[in-house]
Structure formats: C-alpha cells, structure tokens
Symmetry: C2
C-alpha cells in the first residue's frame, strides 16, 4: 500500500509498504480523506522525534474487524491508551502516560491507504456528515475541549488569537455556546473567511473574559495576557517546542487562569457537525491526491494556509 512517511529527515511517499495487521480489538480501516494538521508540519521540523506514517485527522471505512463495524464509515480518536491506569479509568485516556498517538507518537497514522486503529477509538460517522466535514472531527473535538475545561462561556466576552483553522473552529464553538467572540484578524482574506463563518473578526479589545491563543506562535501567550481581564481565563491551544521568554508576573498579579488545552472528546464534535452547527468548508484550501502528498505538505506549511486534505480514494 501507499503511505506518506517521515524518516527523521525526509518526507516521502512509499508505494510498497506492507499493509498493517490488526491485532485483537483493532480494526483495519481504508482511509478516504485525511487532513494535514500543523502538528504534522511541526513533526517534519523535528517536533516529538516521530518516525513513520503521519496523519491523525481522517475518515474511512472499516474493512476488517468487529462484524458490526465492517463496512461502516468511521473516524477515530488519536490516543491509543492502556485502558487500565488511573487516568484511563477516569475517562482521560488522552492523558494515559503510556499512550501511543496515531501518526504522532509510536504508531503509524492515516496518510496511507490503510490504518490500524483500536476499535474502542472509533466513532461511526452519521449519514448527514460529508467526508470532508468528517475529517474535521478531530480538530473540532480539540475546539470543543475548551467547553469541557472552562466554565462561564455563555455570555462571556471572548477573544480568539489566530485566524487559522483551529482558531476559526474555536471561534465557532465559543460563539455557538453563547460567548460574544472576536477573532483577531487583520488581513482582508481572513476577515472575509471569518464573515463566511458568521464570526466577528477584527481587533479584540482588552478586558476579555476568555482569550484563546490559537496562534501557533510563541508570541501568542504574551498577546493573550495583554487582552485578558483580571481573574479572566487564557486558553493555551498553542504548543511551541522549547523554552521561550515570558513575563508571567502580570498573570499572577491579575490572578489570571491559564488552561492548557489539547485533544477533546469526539462525541460533541460529531453532534455539532451532524446538526450543521459548525461550518468547515470555508476552512479547506484544497483536496489533493495522496500521491501528491509531499507537495501538499509544502502548501500546508505556507503562512496563512488553511486545511489541505489528502484523498486516498484517488489512487
């Protein structure tokens, strides 16, 4: 089969990869579409020291596994947890200390014709959700994670920093949850895209109750701290590897709460997509055949790029 693999120095499409073998409890899934995430791009810059097939946002059809699943359209949670530790038993397998993460840590991902996924990670995709929308389940779940972590969203003044894919998903989630949201966006193209999503774009004013840093930049947290009100909340959606200079004294003096936020549960994301409450089409720049995956990565890495989807159906 084909797989887009990172060997630590080079990204290449291999055409002769042996199909993965599902173990007990696993399903073998034929990938339909998969999305390139900023994390994928970061991995090709050395982040997390991963080797193997990239890709953790995908939709596909089960070809082997539990009879009730074969032939069904599915998406899958990315953390492969032990299922037995205290965090797993608290329904927080996303934080299992021995977890593997599909396409990110110790397990091959979905930029391939086939992927093996634990059946307990799978979610059936409701009829009303298109394949292109279903690929957004994983990043949308990460946006919904904020509602699991932060209270008082309804009626809050919220600012979202970063008008990229994640920022525009977060802004929709917060807005649909009743927050008064402004996405920081200076460029006309960003503002037009936000408008198509029903999101107010502009320059957030200081004094926000909730500020989400989805900039993907080391400077985002500093900006967020300048905008949040005393006793307000900053949601940290940006993972920047390594040490960076930061003055946290204002966060202490103003008693700001900073909440690290990563993956989320798939259920609320799928519900919102099925109900048409979240729009994703304006977030897609292109759908590219898997065979052209290397070039698609360059495009996804460009400044201002939105989502590039890899289509494994076109072979």
């Amino acid at each position: 089969m084909r797989a887009l693999r990172w060997d630590g120095s080079r990204l290449a499409l291999a055409r002769d990869v042996p199909p993965p073998k599902p173990a007990a409890g696993d399903a073998l899934v034929r990938v339909a579409l998969a999305g390139i995430c900023r994390t994928d791009v970061e991995i090709t810059r050395g982040y997390l020291d991963f080797r193997g097939t990239l890709g953790h946002e995908w939709v596909g059809g089960v070809v082997e596994g539990n009879a009730g699943l074969v032939g069904r359209r599915v998406v899958g949670e990315i953390n492969v947890a032990c299922g037995r530790c205290a965090l797993c038993l608290a329904d927080l397998g996303r934080h299992c200390p021995t977890r593997r993460v599909l396409g990110i840590v110790g397990a091959d991902g979905a930029f391939a014709d086939l992927i093996v996924v634990p059946e307990r990670n799978l979610h059936l995709v409701p009829e009303g959700i298109s394949d292109t929308a279903a690929v957004f389940t994983e990043p949308l779940a990460a946006a919904f994670e904020i509602l699991d972590q932060v209270g008082g969203v309804s009626g809050a003044r919220a600012a979202v920093l970063g008008a990229g894919k994640l920022g525009l998903l977060v802004a929709q989630v917060l807005g649909r949850a009743g927050a008064d949201v402004v996405v920081a966006a200076r460029h006309p193209a960003q503002q037009a895209r936000a408008a198509r999503l029903g999101i107010v774009a502009g320059t957030p004013q200081p004094g926000a109750d909730i500020v989400v840093d989805a900039t993907g930049s080391a400077d985002g947290l500093r900006q967020a701290l300048a905008l949040v009100r005393p006793r307000g909340t900053v949601v940290m959606k940006t993972t920047v590897a390594g040490e960076h200079r930061l003055d946290l004294a204002p966060a202490v003096v103003n008693e700001v709460t900073l909440v690290g936020s990563r993956c989320g549960r798939f259920a609320p994301a799928l519900e919102a997509l099925a109900a048409g409450r979240i729009a994703v089409e304006p977030l897609i720049d292109a759908v590219v055949p898997l065979a052209d995956g290397v070039g698609a990565f360059d495009r996804a890495a460009a400044t201002g790029a939105m989502k590039i989807l890899l289509d494994a159906r076109e072979g």
Copy 2:
C-alpha cells in the same frame, strides 16, 4: 512621626514625617506591629518603582475616624479601590484598575507610627488573636485565596514548593482544607519548622493534583510543571519581575491549569486565626523596634529568613 521610607535608592528611618491626615471615610491608625514581606524587600530592589513608606502587613489601633472604630484593634486590606468600577462592584476591588496599594503602589504603608486607611478596608481583630498573629492576616489571606480559586482541594494530593513564610501558611491552609500536603524542604531547619506546624516536609513526588509555587524564584514554575499530574493545577504565588525562559508545551500537552494567585479576603484568615487552626509563631524570626528597621530589612532579605516584625510601640 517616624516612618521607614524608600526614596528609590535608599531605605531610611525618617523621624520628622508629618502625621498623615485622614480624609472623609478614612481612619487614622496607630501601628502596633508590622511585618516585613518579601515584596517589601523586592521594592528596595526596584520592583514596582514605589516611593514612600513601606509596609502592608500590620495591626494597630484606630485613633481617629468613625466613632465605632476609635479605640478598636484592627487590620486592613491593602488595596484601596475606587468602589465604583465593574471589578469593585463584583467584590473584586483587589483588581480595581485604578487601585492604590498601601505601601506598594501610590500610598504610604505601615512601617510608621501612624497610617491612614479607608475605613471600608478595616477588619476588627477578635480578642483571641494576639498582635503577632494578627500581623499575619494579610499573608494568610493570600494563602486562603487559593481556596477561593481552586476547587477539589479536599482529598487532593498537594505539593507546596517553597518552605518560606508563605509556603508554610499555604501548606497549613491546604492541609486544614483536607488536602494531603507535602512541602518541599531539604534543609533540616526547614523540616523541623514544618514539623512544628504539623506539616509533612520532604521531596514531593510527581503526579500531584495541585502544586503551589511559593518559591519566590523564577525556577519554581518549571519545578511545579514537573510535579503536577495531567489535568492538574499549578497555583502561581511567585511574582518574579521581568521575562524568564520557560517551556510551556508540557502544560498544553498535559492540559495543566495554571492559576495566578495574589491577595485574598481577610475574613477567612481572621476566622482561622481566631479558631487557632493556623499557627504562625514558628514563622517569626524576630520582633525588632521600628527604630532599627533598616537593619531588620537586611535580616529579612537574607536567604532562609522567616518573618521579621517591626514593633512601633517601642520607641
């Protein structure tokens, strides 16, 4: 009157300071005892660019003001708020954007014979609280602030970094609230002091639900992030001026919540002191006459120093 004043380059005891004049709504208080706080020491190193009489932890007797207050023993909250803004109306005058702070920002403090304090900032000191204990109301309120900000303390595994004055107050507060607390303390003197306070001292193990950084050092937050469990809480009690290098990626990946924490309400602190639930005597290194305040500052600034109290009654 006498006042221990910082002029931006030198700390000196002035003996000819005109007594302050209370305005409407103010009380004039004769200071009995006042404590030297780490913030006072930091101010003499340039923090916050303050000029004037230092001191914000004190107990004294009202000599002018509302008839019901004259002759009463009082302590006072340190933030002088406008009383009219949104934060003040939300009972968060501690965050009023135009606040002055006694002995810290724009208002003379308590290392003096007399201090002017808004009457609404005053709290009567119950009979059962000694003067030496009453001086700890302000830092103890800062410790109790954590209970106002962080839920789930009862039954939590907590680690306190910093076995100084604030750390040992925080450890008592968390322990009395039902947490299983370990204070990081390597030195035998620290461990002995902790033992006298009924606090477990030693080396906290990773996986804590709550970690409080009361180190006063730029490295404290890094240590705290290494000890907190995924989805756990780090309370930031350390204010270090300026930018410092920090890797926050683990906080994002592990979805840690960081809570900036500063001043607190006086009421729970006074209740706990009156009930004898918090011990402060082991936290006192010395009681020094106000006339010897300059030397007392040097002593308070030394590594490992505990609380130095200035006694304005002598002299």
